[in-house]
């Protein structure tokens, strides 16, 4: 049971404090936490452990774009529950406020406080379904702001208990008004790969998500089937997915929530190739290290590969770095990260980065080698090869418009040198 939730800013300032139970938690715990962060992670709260034991409380933390969500408890509880809850709070707030940062949270303090109040009662999650929350606590938008100013009264609180609280499909508002009668299915995949120092592909797998944006009237019944479901290794589903049809026929049958949501995530393991190759070569002697990185297309997916970025951390003990590329731009950031932005791979030449690293005095050879992280994006193709067979929609007054898209981007794509 969580006793208190704090939202901390980038500098450790307490922005929101919501006591959940009668056993009040003193704010001083945040001060303690921040000292801990400074001591163990040089002020970066995303680097400390998710579960921290303080002298008085157990702390759980989730970090999202500059805001630390901190929860305290003194008694035994599933730690993952706390962490998942905090992530859910972060997601809901992102949904409400567009994006979360110090300013938006401070500007919408009342709303944040109300949301926290609705989401948790007596230290246990109460209402976490985004669409119910949206009826309980209205979203801030221009119109409501205007109204507030004009009429002098605000109405961020829903006056009526949402029907969905009683429904068997709590994620869906029973009456969806002004639905445009369309549904979009979007496959977003991330390619994780690991190439070792010999250039061998150690691991290559695709982690995908199926995002659905539904805008359907009534209580529609959707059925989604894949052409090749057997390639999927692991799955996780949105609560709306019924387990039984998947168990028996590998079919997704569900009543969708309104709007955008993540229907399922999956993983396809043991892929054979990657779309592009990155070949780094580092050789060092007598205080100099020559760097040469080549990038090219290995396995054309049929669609254009864009937004290619190769970045790596300069090894320690480098006195100076002089790196140039024949295509794209090379930047060295303050934290010693070298970012090589390539974009498209041109037809006529293979992009390459070359240059020289000057090692510090007295050091002849490089001993710690950087790991190159690769980013790219391919629109219109799912590299795992997963294909949607068909999407059936039942229970709607008229046949809706259905749209499908696919996209692949690099996830944890690492090339060691």
């Amino acid at each position: 049971m969580l006793q208190c939730v704090f939202l901390l800013s980038d500098s450790g300032e307490v922005m929101v404090e919501k006591q959940m139970t009668a056993h009040r938690v003193d704010r001083a715990i945040c001060g303690w936490f921040w000292e801990y962060v400074l001591a163990h992670a040089a002020g970066d709260p995303s680097k400390v452990l998710q579960v921290v034991v303080s002298p008085t409380h157990y702390l759980f933390r989730v970090y999202r774009s500059g805001v630390t969500f901190l929860a305290c408890t003194q008694v035994e509880m599933p730690p993952l529950m706390a962490i998942e809850f905090l992530s859910r709070v972060a997601d809901v707030l992102t949904d409400y406020l567009g994006d979360i940062n110090e300013d938006t949270i401070k500007d919408n303090f009342v709303i944040v406080y109300q949301i926290l109040d609705e989401m948790m009662d007596n230290g246990f999650p109460l209402t976490t379904e985004p669409n119910i929350l949206k009826e309980l606590v209205a979203q801030p938008n221009m119109v409501s702001k205007m109204l507030n100013v004009m009429t002098g009264k605000s109405s961020t609180i829903g006056s009526k208990l949402p029907d969905a609280t009683a429904s068997f499909v709590p994620w869906r508002t029973t009456i969806v008004k002004d639905a445009s009668n369309e549904v979009y299915v979007n496959i977003v995949e991330e390619l994780d790969a690991c190439v070792n120092r010999e250039g061998v592909l150690v691991k290559c797998e695709a982690c995908g998500e199926i995002e659905v944006n539904s805008s359907l009237p009534g209580l529609p019944e959707l059925t989604l089937s894949f052409a090749n479901p057997t390639i999927i290794n692991d799955v996780r589903f949105h609560p709306c997915v019924r387990f039984r049809p998947w168990e028996s026929n590998q079919i997704l049958s569900f009543v969708p929530p309104d709007g955008q949501f993540k229907l399922m995530s999956y993983r396809v393991k043991k892929l054979k190739t990657t779309p592009i190759y990155v070949k780094p070569q580092l050789s060092s002697d007598s205080g100099n290290c020559r760097v040469h990185v080549m990038v090219g297309i290995r396995n054309d997916p049929g669609k254009p590969i864009d937004s290619i970025i190769v970045q790596f951390q300069l090894p320690p003990l480098i006195a100076s770095a002089d790196l140039t590329a024949n295509h794209g731009t090379v930047d060295i950031l303050a934290d010693q990260t070298c970012v090589w932005t390539i974009g498209h791979i041109p037809k006529d030449k293979a992009p390459s980065l070359s240059g020289n690293l000057r090692l510090e005095e007295g050091l002849a050879h490089l001993h710690a080698f950087p790991i190159f992280q690769v980013k790219f994006r391919i629109m219109g193709a799912a590299l795992s090869g997963l294909q949607i067979d068909k999407l059936d929609v039942k229970n709607t007054p008229s046949a809706p418009y259905k749209g499908f898209r696919a996209q692949t981007q690099a996830g944890r794509y690492e090339v060691r040198s």
Partner: protein, 1053 residues
């Protein structure tokens, strides 16, 4: 609150919730409106009103809330019913005595038709009555079926409840991993007490034992289930197997079936909860279905990674084969933080098998070039572990490590980095570990290492290599040949070495001598050699040997003149050892001494290094998915699984026995789970009915002292082998005698007690905990003296004061203070008296604040001291009434007619008086004061460390360190607070050093209100280190309780 606007209403509710405790009056004013709102037509308003009303937590309101909850539990709106379930948890904190009513409501809500309400009811169940598993029985099937449909948060709670229910009802599943882990041990121990001739159970066993016994003696269920946790560590003891059920039991099947789809949940907490049900209950061959989902969470919910890996580590250690084919998932990404990397490395080494090791090693080779040097060092250590585990790769690992050493050398010598050395040292350490197994076959490696000595600068690395050289100087064919040369080299460089290395050189050189093949011959000559003050007279047949001896002599001589006394000491010791009685030329005693010395030296240097103590044995495992598993200690409120098949007992056990059983149970956790009560309740039942059942039953040794009230030691609880119990008792007795406790007893009583003791405990008794009860008299009280009046300000009158534990005869509100008046001048002081400044002043104000006590003066008038001669001292007893305030009391000390102002600082620890009670009463009382009446804090205790030093000097080996600690703390508390020591519980653990579980209980009552105030202190840790203490105060007066808690902690620290 009466506002019509919903928004205003809501915000006022929020305001009330936040400030109710500080502004009770406002909160009380709004109660009427809540009552009205509870019958509002808008369900949202009803729900808000209920939530707020239950949330303001005023005792006055609690009965009203109870009525409201009862009403709302039947509300037409499911949302309101859900809020009613939440209100139950809040109400339970306020009105724990109403639990039967609350349980009824929980029961009603569990039977609700709406999923949301059932889930919330599960939450209420968990906080109101987590042990009334019988309540679940009639709902069980339906609860299982609704499991996939309810909200994710409730799933987590409900899964846990259902798991506990099934275990309590049916016991463990016979062919589950958990059971098999116990079984494999049982068979190893050469017993088959349980004839399990089930094929599947042997399968399970193979899964568990597959990884060549990484953690063979972890008996999971001993960790998970409370009943057996006490017996942990003692493998041989007779162990009755928990009642088992087959995997075809209907309830088990349905639970497993309904939890398996939850493995696909989007919530990682649900996945882990479902996985742990399978882990504990599922037949071994089905457990593997949890592997995929929990590994997928590592990628798909990054925030959960750390917690998940911690749990996977435990799974993997118990059943490495489960994960062995998924090793790729544990490969390390650049973005992983250090802790994640460390966990992944550990898992990788655990699950490595012959088939996967080439890939894993290749990965490790990549990691070695990582910029994070600490991680590199960890990797090097992991390589050694793998090599030890899988002999086939030993040689290639060694080659690789050697190459790494050479490579690191080239770097460290050129540039010096902080963490750089760590890698090098770790690499050599790893080599040492590997070589240890079979030194002879790796002698070339050793030689190559020794050759590196020339270039290695790092002292830690140097001394490691020298150690290896010394240790294995006689093994193989080549090393002995090069030994003298190396020694010579070492001798040559000796003067330049750092301390650590010097010591190692000394050791190594002596080792070389001792282990040398013609040892006896050598020592003989050595003796003469030294005897003639290192002048070489006798020429050995072998030139080499001669040279050899000279080198050693040179080293020792050098060392004897070293700057560092440690080196000098070591050198003297060694030289004494080697040439033995050098000055004695008497040949008769020579031969004798040679033998003795040889044996001695062999013992010191040639002795086998004891295998590193298995750290796993101290490694506690908690239920998967629990907070305790992540933080690796039992968090408050952690409850292990109930005893298998204990459900039936619950029905048998009649209510009244609980109280008795309760008090006899030595559990120290504040959330003492009911199952333990029930359990011991049953024990008592059977004892009274059937006499003794040697295995499961507690055995009380009530040894009454002749003259006195309480028994001194209770021994109880099961599962320790007999011999141990005897020893433990003896130890305790010895320690009792050796300490000042003896004065407690008349000599004859002690003797009769002693006579009796050895006989009594050696009946089939098993002990895991001893309770020592003392009367408070046995402790010296050293009250702290405070200065009331400084002689320099008062014309030479020094007044010190100390709070006394006496109870005032005049009124119970008065605190007694001892005043020590001393005349430090050379003249006579006369007419010393003390008056309160306030006594005359604000009498009326005082009346207001505490009407009942108005008749009692702030300061009982004290008789004045007529005169005080120089250097004379006098003692006065002051009886003060502090009005329950912590403000200092202003006093005037009159002396020689002059007035000196003084301040008397009250001590909250003396606002209480001892409340004598026995343990039963204490535990009953404590049970009533749960929840918000309970405050706990942690602190550390160091005082006993000094005491240890003292006792060690006095070389009293018999002193039980635990007892010492217990006494130190008790006397410290007693001398600083006016409390009564109810009991001291001492764990009788395998390691004498382990003080975990040591528990003190003090009772007292508040002077002004006569409310009882209970203090419990539980220790954790080792007696040789600062102890972690958890101090807990239970008191109805919460503000006072909190203050007292802080004071106690201050006293202890």
């Amino acid at each position: 609150v009466a506002a019509q606007s919903l928004e205003v209403k809501k915000l006022v509710y929020l305001y009330l919730l936040h400030y109710a405790e500080t502004r009770q009056n406002e909160a009380l004013l709004s109660i009427n409106i809540f009552q009205k709102d509870l019958s509002d037509i808008n369900p949202l308003v009803r729900a808000w009103a209920l939530r707020t009303m239950a949330g303001i937590r005023l005792h006055v309101v609690a009965p009203l809330v109870l009525v409201a909850v009862k009403k709302c539990a039947r509300d037409p709106s499911p949302y309101v019913r859900k809020c009613a379930a939440y209100a139950l948890c809040k109400l339970y904190d306020l009105l724990p005595e109403e639990n039967t009513t609350l349980e009824e409501i929980v029961d009603v809500l569990l039977g609700d038709s709406s999923f949301g309400v059932v889930g919330a009811a599960a939450v209420a169940f968990k906080s109101v009555c987590p042990n009334c598993l019988a309540l679940i029985a009639k709902h069980f099937q339906r609860l299982c079926e609704t499991l996939p449909d309810i909200e994710e948060w409730y799933q987590i709670t409900l899964i846990e409840i259902l798991l506990r229910y099934v275990i309590a009802k049916h016991g463990l599943v016979k062919d589950s991993v958990m059971f098999a882990s116990g079984l494999s041990l049982e068979t190893q121990a050469g017993r088959d007490s349980v004839p399990v001739s089930n094929i599947s159970s042997t399968q399970a066993e193979t899964i568990v034992k597959g990884g060549s016994g990484t953690m063979p003696n972890i008996m999971l269920f001993r960790h998970y289930i409370e009943e057996y946790s006490g017996a942990f560590d003692r493998d041989e003891d007779k162990f009755s197997f928990p009642s088992v059920t087959s995997s075809t039991n209907d309830d088990v099947v349905i639970l497993l079936k309904c939890t398996s789809p939850l493995l696909w949940s989007q919530n990682s907490a649900v996945i882990l909860a479902a996985a742990s049900v399978h882990w504990i209950m599922a037949p071994a061959e089905e457990v593997k279905r949890i592997v995929g989902p929990i590994l997928f969470t590592l990628r798909s919910s990054p925030d959960a990674t750390y917690v998940m890996l911690g749990n996977i580590l435990v799974f993997a250690k118990t059943a490495p084969l489960l994960f062995s084919s998924y090793f790729e998932d544990f490969f390390i990404c650049a973005s992983d933080p250090y802790q994640t990397r460390a966990l992944k490395l550990e898992i990788l080494t655990t699950i490595a098998t012959e088939s996967s090791i080439p890939a894993i090693l290749e990965e490790f080779q990549d990691y070695i070039k990582d910029p994070n040097r600490r991680f590199v060092a960890d990797t090097v250590a992991a390589i050694a572990l793998c090599a030890l585990k899988l002999p086939s790769i030993t040689s290639s690992c060694l080659e690789g490590l050697l190459a790494l050493v050479l490579y690191e050398l080239s770097i460290t010598n050129s540039v010096h980095l902080n963490e750089e050395d760590a890698v090098l040292v770790q690499a050599i350490l790893s080599i040492k570990e590997i070589v240890k197994i079979d030194a002879a076959s790796h002698e070339k490696v050793i030689i190559r290492l020794v050759r590196c000595l020339d270039t290695i600068m790092e002292p830690a690395a140097r001394s490691l290599i020298i150690w290896i050289f010394g240790e294995y100087s006689s093994t193989g064919n080549l090393i002995p040949k090069i030994a003298p040369v190396v020694l010579k080299y070492l001798a040559w460089s000796f003067a330049a070495e750092v301390l650590e290395t010097k010591l190692q050189i000394l050791n190594a050189s002596v080792k070389v001598c001792i282990i040398s093949p013609n040892f006896s011959f050598l020592t003989l000559k050595w003796r003469l050699l030294i005897g003639l003050f290192f002048q070489v007279i006798i020429h050995s047949a072998e030139d080499q040997l001669e040279e050899f001896k000279r080198t050693v002599a040179y080293v020792i001589q050098l060392a004897a003149c070293d700057m560092n006394y440690d080196v000098r000491d070591r050198a003297r010791f060694l030289s004494g050892l080697l040439p033995c009685c050098a000055n004695e030329n008497d040949s008769s005693c020579r031969s004798q001494n040679v033998d003795v010395i040889k044996e001695l030296a062999d013992h010191i240097f040639g002795g086998k290094i004891p295998p590193p103590s298995n750290s796993d044995s101290n490694y506690r495992i908690y239920l998967p998915g629990s907070l305790s598993q992540v933080v690796l200690h039992a968090a408050p409120g952690y409850a292990p699984l109930p005893k298998p098949q204990s459900m039936i007992l619950i029905h048998k056990t009649v209510e009244p026995t609980r109280g008795v059983a309760d008090s006899s149970e030595g559990t120290n956790s504040d959330a003492e789970s009911g199952s333990s009560r029930d359990e011991s309740g049953s024990v008592y039942d059977s004892e009274s009915e059937a006499g003794s059942d040697s295995n499961d039953e507690g055995h009380n040794l009530h040894r009454q002292k002749e003259n006195q009230e309480a028994p001194l030691i209770h021994m109880y609880d099961g599962n320790v082998d007999q011999a141990y119990a005897g020893r433990a008792v003896d130890e305790n007795l010895a320690s009792l005698i050796s300490t000042d406790l003896t004065e407690l007893m008349s000599k004859s009583a002690l003797e009769s007690w002693l006579d009796e003791a050895p006989a009594a405990p050696l009946v089939p008794v098993q002990t895991s905990c001893a309770r020592v009860s003392f009367t408070t008299r046995s402790f010296e009280r050293k009250p702290k003296l405070h200065r009331l009046l400084d002689p320099s300000d008062s014309g030479g009158l020094s007044v010190l004061y100390a709070f006394s534990s006496e109870v005032s005869v005049k009124s119970r509100l008065l605190v007694c203070v001892d005043l020590f008046v001393e005349n430090v001048t050379t003249e006579q002081l006369a007419d010393i008296t003390i008056k309160s400044e306030e006594a005359s002043g604000s009498k009326s104000g005082m009346d207001q604040t505490s009407e009942g006590s108005a008749s009692i003066p702030t300061l009982v008038p004290v008789e004045e001291i007529q005169s005080l001669a120089p250097e004379q001292r006098a003692k006065m007893l002051l009886q003060v009434h502090f009005h329950h305030h912590l403000l200092p009391l202003k006093l005037s000390v009159f002396c020689n007619g002059k007035r000196h102002p003084a301040k008397l600082h009250p001590d909250i620890a003396y606002f209480v008086r001892p409340l004598p009670m026995d343990l039963n009463a204490f535990l009953c009382k404590e049970n009533q004061l749960r929840g918000m009446f309970e405050y706990a804090r942690r602190c550390t205790f160091k005082d006993h460390l000094q005491k240890h030093e003292q006792t060690e000097e006095s070389t009293d080996d018999n002193t039980d360190k635990n007892l010492l600690v217990a006494q130190t703390l008790a006397s410290k508390v007693l001398s600083n607070a006016n409390v009564h020591l109810v009991s001291m519980d001492m764990p009788v653990t395998f390691s004498i050093d382990d003080a975990s579980g040591l528990c003190w209980r003090f009772s007292s009552e508040i002077l002004s209100t006569s409310n009882p105030c209970l203090i419990t202190i539980v220790a954790d840790g080792h007696t040789s280190e600062p102890l972690d203490l958890t101090v807990k105060v239970n008191s109805e007066d919460t503000a006072f309780g909190l203050n007292l808690l802080n004071r106690i902690v201050a006293i202890i620290e």
